[in-house]
Subunit: 288 residues, 2 copies
Amino acid sequence: MERVGTVAIVGVGLIGGSIGMALKVRGGCARVVGIGRDRAKLDEAMRLGAIDEGTTDLASGVSGADVAVVCTPVNRIAADVSALAAHGPSDLLITDAGSTKGRIVAAVEGHKEARARFVAAHPIAGSERQGAAFGRADLLDGRLCVLTPTSRTPADRVRRAEAFWSSLGATVFLMSPADHDAALALTSHLPHAVASVLAASVPPETLRLAAGAYRDSTRVAAADAGLWTAIFRDNRGPLLDAIGKFQDQLSALKFALMADDDEAIRACWESGREHRLIYERRESSKNR
Amino acid sequence: MERVGTVAIVGVGLIGGSIGMALKVRGGCARVVGIGRDRAKLDEAMRLGAIDEGTTDLASGVSGADVAVVCTPVNRIAADVSALAAHGPSDLLITDAGSTKGRIVAAVEGHKEARARFVAAHPIAGSERQGAAFGRADLLDGRLCVLTPTSRTPADRVRRAEAFWSSLGATVFLMSPADHDAALALTSHLPHAVASVLAASVPPETLRLAAGAYRDSTRVAAADAGLWTAIFRDNRGPLLDAIGKFQDQLSALKFALMADDDEAIRACWESGREHRLIYERRESSKNR
């Protein structure tokens, strides 16, 4: 494991806080500096042991850093990367934890100084909760972290980014930004959209009669509106495609129901069941 | 708590097995007789302590029973109720555990002997798993059990059904069959349909990139196709209405995304979030 000197974390919420905790617990670096707009959140992250010190001044926070991780909402990441590149040392590695990649990478690649230091990343872990108080040192443990370097990303920074994310316990996986966004539209953004729409469709006065299916299917609908609006907007093309696929499948079930067609309803159900069982087999083989 | 002599359970799967276990653990009756088609499943239920004895002969199984609970799939319940009424003692209470009520109640009310003994019930608890091996004595503990008596249901049987389901730890709640089916279409059948359609929409080759939202949102898609095809067909009117509501909400989100309208996307998300938070407050006040 590569041990680095100072890691700066921009945005000490659930993900940023968890990264800080993992660095501290695993001894992945000598010092963790939190950078944020809100002094109270930085103080809380210090109390929680996620960072060693906190500052609201990005320029001073990044000045002595070897690695900077941007954990702000996706609509702020590209600007934060540029600011870090402008104020950080020339050998700085900048990476991020955003749920979308295409637009962020394109924006960063428009700035030479930023492009030379940045390796886009998406650690696939999270929660519907916000804030470092919900952070956990093992949040990334055994989880996938997708890196999306392009032909313009320096190879040495890719190697350092792989070492950094691996040092947090994640398994690193490389994809293009476009492939990442198309896949995540299906595996994460569509499930979030569907959870939210489902929650909106069930009237509060019937919730007394809700059981396990509602409870689990709508869990992520409790997440922050600002974060998810930004993710949906960033990835609207692939998400619209994914919603279209979902609408087609839902229409198939609806028509089968309208026709009261036993075989067709069963075929719809079996198709979903088959995919879910593939997922369960994959997960259980991972945990073995 | 009313203690009864013999309870016959028709169908010793997850729900029937759990009811048997709850009766044994809580001492709710002197003897539990399992009735089923499959000798091996009856033997397993005996091994698991869910029933005292098992028989494949419904007539002999119900002959000495005070209460009979029908835990078969919804498309078999009405026929099983009629058979129990034909072979059971005159003071028998028959109840069921089906997820739909309107069609079952209408079918049973067409038979005088069955109608005189039957109180339709739906204990709102379950799982995507099948079989008594997944049963638990506390499955109904603190859960709601909806009874749907009509003007033709004898009042003494309603009182006995309330006492019976309460003795298993459930909180009894009375509704009309139509109100039950309309509410459950929204709180259970729609979430199951959406989970299944979502699972069908996400291609297996992308599942490596699935995280918590997919995992929880598609859990119930692993349930048995036959059971859910029967539930969907039984409740297709209300379920189609619920799917229509969901489609309207999904279209609203889709149009907001197509327009890249920040305010409109946020409004869609906030509407789902608000309902989910109402649900979470209700649940946490229940558990306090």
